[in-house]
């Protein structure tokens, strides 16, 4: 336990570069960043099965390539998510599961349980809400107020126009522009 305690205190670069007890160091790195990768997949719109595949393949690739990580090139988390991004790209391009690293390590795919699927759905909802909230906060004040009133509070355009002291057509325009900006920010529409 003493060793594990020490490893828990290590930074990512030390964990990835560990020669002594490298397997335990890798496990600490995995536990530290598993949620990061799953959330990254959720934000990219992957379903549970795809996220499970990409996450497993990402960590397998990290296991194989961890000695190539160079701290001066940036934080390990960014390096990790870069790998995940490539794996998601491969997944999207081929429309097929890429398990090269897993196969090289002879790691069998992990099947998701019902509980896992529920957990992932919650994670997707959480990430979507966080993203939407963040995107909403980034809107110009006038658009944000109009979108919030229309979408979140369910107000009519007439009520929005009255509250904001603008014409109804301008209220429609602000809501429309605000929603389009949100779609762009959330990657649902090209800019």
């Amino acid at each position: 336990m003493g060793v594990m305690k020490d490893l828990d205190g290590c930074d990512d670069a030390a964990l990835l570069g560990a020669h002594e007890r490298g397997d335990e160091a890798f496990a600490v790195f995995y536990r530290r960043h598993l949620d990061d990768v799953l959330r990254f997949c959720a934000r990219r719109g992957l379903d549970a099965a795809a996220a499970a595949d990409v996450t497993a393949e990402t960590f397998a690739a990290v296991l194989l390539g961890r000695r190539r990580y160079r701290p001066d090139a940036g934080p390990a988390r960014a390096w990790l998510l870069g790998i995940a991004s490539h794996k998601i790209g491969d997944y999207g391009r081929r429309m097929a599961r890429d398990r090269r690293a897993l196969r090289r390590l002879a790691v069998a795919p992990v099947e998701l349980s019902a509980r896992d699927r529920t957990d992932y759905a919650a994670l997707v909802a959480e990430e979507s809400a966080a993203l939407a909230s963040s995107a909403l906060a980034d809107l110009p004040d006038d658009q944000r107020a109009a979108v919030y009133a229309r979408v979140v509070e369910g107000e009519s355009y007439e009520a929005i126009a009255r509250d904001l002291r603008i014409s109804e057509s301008l209220a429609r325009q602000r809501v429309s522009r605000g929603l389009r900006a949100l779609r762009i920010r959330l990657g649902k529409e090209p800019s």
Partner: protein
């Protein structure tokens, strides 16, 4: 994702340990190259597999510490010449289509299972073999499960398992599971031609390995190192 997280961690940890042992084997290989006596074993073999043999040659005086777990180690060990290799402290066993050997280092801390192709299969590679080496303590808890694929036998996916006393093995193909007979010496072996899962059940824990066309010549999930002596099959990464 707790179930997924735990399972993936367990599998990656085993893979990480296997990776660590591959590194260990590579270091032995480099050490072997520096010592003339090792060349006898090195000729005709490749990579880490030769290093294991070299390490066995450099040691003397077997101390079979794991004989209780593995009945095959209770049999007298002998030095066996196979091609250009001399297997020290080897025990022979019958494979699905040939002969295999269990080797033990002199200090008893490492066990290897060597698998040879059927006689005459690879005339250009008379010293081809496949070997799987793991720490003995690890083998006592997990067994040794080696998958073997000879490209000259396309479609045949072989496995050799060294099962500790009290353990069992089974094979699942297309959802149907059958028991693999474990011989009195602890060896369970067979050949499949489609995707299959081999499972070892040891002390209440199941260790699995998938093999077949979708998985190819894979290194065992629960082994310390997977190396291949053949110049025509997959070697260590």
């Amino acid at each position: 994702m707790r179930d997924y997280a735990e399972q993936l961690e367990q599998r990656l940890m085993l893979a990480a340990r296997a990776e660590a042992h591959r590194g260990w084997a590579r270091r032995l290989w480099r050490a072997a190259l520096a010592r003339p006596v090792a060349w006898v074993a090195v000729v005709g073999t490749t990579g880490a597999a030769a290093a294991i043999v070299a390490a066995l040659m450099l040691t003397a005086g077997a101390v079979p510490s794991a004989a209780q777990a593995f009945p095959i180690l209770a049999k007298p060990a002998s030095d066996i010449r196979v091609g250009l290799r001399v297997l020290r402290h080897a025990r022979e066993f019958a494979e699905a289509t040939g002969t295999g050997y269990v080797l033990e280092t002199s200090n008893g801390d490492t066990l290897c299972v060597d698998s040879y192709p059927p006689p005459g299969l690879l005339p250009q590679s008379p010293n081809a073999y496949d070997t799987m080496c793991v720490p003995t303590a690890y083998a006592e808890q997990h067994g040794i499960l080696e998958s073997v694929y000879w490209p000259a036998l396309p479609g045949d996916y072989r496995f050799v398992a060294l099962v500790p006393v009290g353990g069992s093995a089974d094979l699942t193909i297309g959802g149907a599971t059958t028991t693999i007979p474990v011989a009195a010496d602890g060896i369970a072996t067979g050949v499949v031609t489609q995707d299959a899962t081999v499972s070892l059940h040891i002390a209440g824990v199941t260790h699995t390995q998938q093999l077949g066309p979708d998985y190819g010549n894979v290194t065992s999930l629960n082994v310390g190192t997977g190396t291949t002596g053949s110049s025509t099959t997959t070697g260590p990464p």
